[in-house]
Amino acid sequence: MTAFVLTLVGAALAVGLELLEALAIVLAVGSTRRPRDAVIGAVGAVVLLAVVVVAVGPLLLARLPLEPLQVVIGTALLLFGLEWLRKGVLRLAGRRSPSNSFQEYLEEREALEGMDAPPPGRPDWPARIVAGKGVLLEGVEVVLIVAALGAGPDGLTPAVAGAALAVVIVIGVGLVLHRPLMRLPESHLKYAVGIVLSSFGVFFLGEGLSVAWPGGDAALLYVAGTLLAASWVQIATLSREPVAA
């Protein structure tokens, strides 16, 4: 049950935040250029990702034995999770600007406004490429996170359910447009995702390396607690230290 809930929450948060970043880029492209080209670029990226997942996923799962797969997945989750956690610590300690998809939306708009628009009736390839690249890069992270979390004791169900929940929420945010983007506590959410992904990373790496975790799946709780405590020590220390002018 612990692993199921943590996987669902972790997948929903991680996928939701990645999708928000992709949405910010697509909205910026759609509002500065033609919405049709932004959607074509985004859909093209989603189709490309789906083809790669359908072609490569089953091959990998069928050929790799469980323990090496857990080592690979644990390592990948640690790489993602520790990066999110490091940035989260720096943001919460005031050493890095807070995460803000609305700011990304504004920056992307500003960059696109400097580009010449194509004549009417011609496809807007720069807009399609910018939207497609944004969705593709964030989408790769979504696929890796869902696939990695799906290797947990409860299988793909909680990871896919969490991802589906995130898709529904982000589409809702997209329909109400940018206002909710400004209100989300993104820095705190990304810090939480960092804790969850890193915890699963340590857990899977241990399982892949023949570790028998005391308490079974409940080990995820004390692993997460330890990472939470260690990162809060860093946040408290960094917050107290004066920053160079």
């Binding site: 080592v71 390592t75 640690l78 790489l79 520790l82 990066e83 956690l85 490091r86 940035k87 610590v89 720096l90 300690a93 050493r95 690249k133 890069l137 790769v140 992270e141 890193s198 990373g201 340590v202 790496l205 241990g206 390396l209 023949s210 570790v211 028998a212 975790w213 005391p214 080990a219 692993v223 330890t226 990472l227 260690a230 990162s231 860093q234 220390t237 960094l238 230290e241 004066p242 920053v243 160079a244």
Partner: protein, 64 residues
């Protein structure tokens, strides 16, 4: 290319290098250590990961 590099390696080399070291030490201990690894190896991995996080944040401490 820069976006791909950032996606794979992140913003600091300390994390990928640190995670690679954790993996190498884990593999070595799994092969060399006795039965204690099965019972306590998880705590060793957790301590190593906390150390990697701490090292990756060291530059922020130095920037005073």
């Amino acid at each position: 290319m820069r976006a791909l590099r950032k996606l794979v390696l992140g913003e600091t080399v300390a994390l990928p290098v640190g995670v690679a070291l954790v993996l190498a030490i884990g593999l070595a201990l799994e092969a060399l250590a006795g039965s204690w690894w099965e019972d306590d190896g998880g705590f060793v991995l957790l301590a190593l990961v906390v150390a990697v996080l701490t090292v990756s944040l060291a530059p922020a401490h130095r920037r005073r």
